[in-house]
Amino acid sequence: MQNEIKHHLTDEILMGYAAGTLPEAFNLMVATHLSLCDTCRAHAESYDALGGELIAQTPGNDVTMDDDSFAATMSLIAGGAPDEIRVPRVAGSILPGPLQDYVRGDLDAVKWRAIGMGVKQAILPTSRDASARLLFIPAGAAMPDHGHKGTEMTMVLQGAFQDEDDYFARGDVEVADSDLHHTPVADIHEDCICLAVTDAPLEFQGLLPKIAQRFARI
C-alpha cells in the first residue's frame, strides 16, 4: 500500500514540521501522514538535518550559559529521567498511531457527531490556532460544496474520494488553498474516513449546511 501514495505533503509543510512552527493540528496531519509514507518521512528527516546544520553553524559565542549551568544540569541528570507515559497503540488499525493518541483509542473510540446528509465528524483536541477533525462520508456521498479560507489538508484513512481533478486513496493528502472550490465525492465501494485539518473555519455554501455548520463548530 505504502508506495501507492500519490499525493504528498508540501515542502513548506514538511519544513514547518521540522522547524516546529506549525499549529498542533497541522503537526498531527504530518505525523499521521509520515506514519504511512516513507517518502515524506525521509524528506522530513532531511529537514531535521537542515535544522541541525543551522544550529551547528550558529556562532555559539553570542549567548552565554549561567555560571553554574553545567552543575545544575548534572543535578538535573542525577534526579533521573522524567517518566514517559506511552499509551499502547493498536497495530493494524486504520488510525495511525498519532491519531490513536488523540482519539484515545481505536476507531470504536471516536465520538462521531452527525452533521447532515450522512456525513459525521469528530473534532480532535488540539490548540486553537487550527483545527483537526475526523470525517466520515458514506460511500458515494458528496461533501457539501465549500470554499476555504486559509489552508486545508485532507488525508484519506479509509476508502477514497474524488474531486474535480483527482482521486485520493489511503495516505493521499489533498491540499486546498483559498482559491479552490471543490466538491469531493466518496468512492462508491466503501465509506470514506478522512483526517481534515484547517487553519480557518470552513465556509459552506447553501442554507442547510450553514446551520449545520454553526452547530457542528466547523
Binding site: 516546529g20 498542533e24 505525523a31 499521521t32 517518502t39 528527516e45 541541525g52 544550529i55 551547528a56
Partner: protein, 210 residues
C-alpha cells in the same frame, strides 16, 4: 540521509582507514568545526560509560547554541537557560536513542530542542509518527555512520555557500518561530517572494547534495 534533497545518491564505500579513525574517535575527516565525528564518539562514551568529561565538552559546545535558538524563538533568558539545561539532560538520558547512522549529533540535539520549544513556548503537544519498529542498532555499521556524517558535512557547506538573502531566510524559517506569512509581515517582503526564495534555496541545497 538527505533523501528530501536528493533521492538518487548512491552510497560510496569509504576508505577503511578513515572508518577506523572515525571509530576510535580521532576525527579522520575534515569538517567545518573539525569535530563532527568527535561528537559522535562522545555520545557513544556517554551512552556506554556515562562519561562526564565527554558530556562536559558536548555541553560547552551545544548548550549555548540551544539557548540561542530558544531565545530567538521567543524565550526570555532565564527560561531559555532552564530549557537548554533540560535539553542537555535529555541528551544524557536518551543517549541510547541516538543513531549516528541516521543523524548528526547537531541534528539530534536540534530535534530535542525543537520539541522542548513546542512543549514549553507553544504549550502544545508534538505528535510524532509511528515508530519504524526498529530503534538504533547496538553497533551501527561504521561505514553508514561515516557516510551519514559526511553527508551532513556536505549539507553544512552547501548552507554556508547559499546567497546571503536565501540563507537568512532559511534561518528565519527555523529560528524565530514564524510561519512563512509571519516572515512576510516581519520582513515586509511579499509572501510570494518568501516562498520563491526558500524554494530557490532548497533547489540549491538539492543540487549541492548530488
Amino acid at each position: 540521509m538527505f533523501a528530501g534533497l536528493d533521492t538518487t545518491k548512491s552510497m560510496e564505500q569509504p576508505d577503511p582507514n578513515v572508518v577506523a579513525a572515525a571509530v576510535t574517535g580521532h576525527a579522520g575527516m575534515e569538517d567545518s568545526d573539525g569535530k563532527r565525528m568527535l561528537w559522535v564518539s562522545h555520545m557513544v562514551h556517554i551512552r556506554d560509560t556515562r562519561d562526564q568529561a565527554a558530556f562536559k565538552e558536548l555541553f560547552e559546545h551545544f548548550a549555548p547554541r540551544v539557548k540561542g535558538f530558544l531565545v530567538k524563538s521567543g524565550a526570555d533568558a532565564s527560561l531559555a537557560e532552564e530549557c537548554a539545561q533540560e535539553v542537555m539532560a535529555t541528551c544524557w538520558h536518551k543517549a541510547h536513542m541516538f543513531d549516528p547512522a541516521r543523524a548528526s549529533v547537531a541534528t539530534w540535539i536540534f530535534t530535542i530542542a525543537r520539541n522542548r520549544k513546542i512543549d514549553l513556548l507553544r504549550k502544545q503537544r508534538r505528535p510524532e509518527p509511528e515508530d519504524l519498529g526498529w530503534g538504533p542498532e547496538e553497533d551501527p555499521d561504521q561505514a553508514d555512520v561515516l557516510a551519514l556524517q559526511q553527508e551532513s558535512e556536505q549539507l553544512g557547506r552547501a548552507i554556508a555557500e547559499l546567497p546571503a538573502a536565501q540563507r537568512e531566510l532559511v534561518q528565519r524559517a527555523y529560528f524565530g518561530d514564524l510561519s512563512h506569512s509571519e516572515i512576510a509581515d516581519q520582513t515586509g517582503l511579499p509572501l510570494g517572494t518568501i516562498k520563491s526564495r526558500l524554494r530557490l534555496a532548497l533547489e540549491r541545497l538539492r543540487h549541492a547534495m548530488k
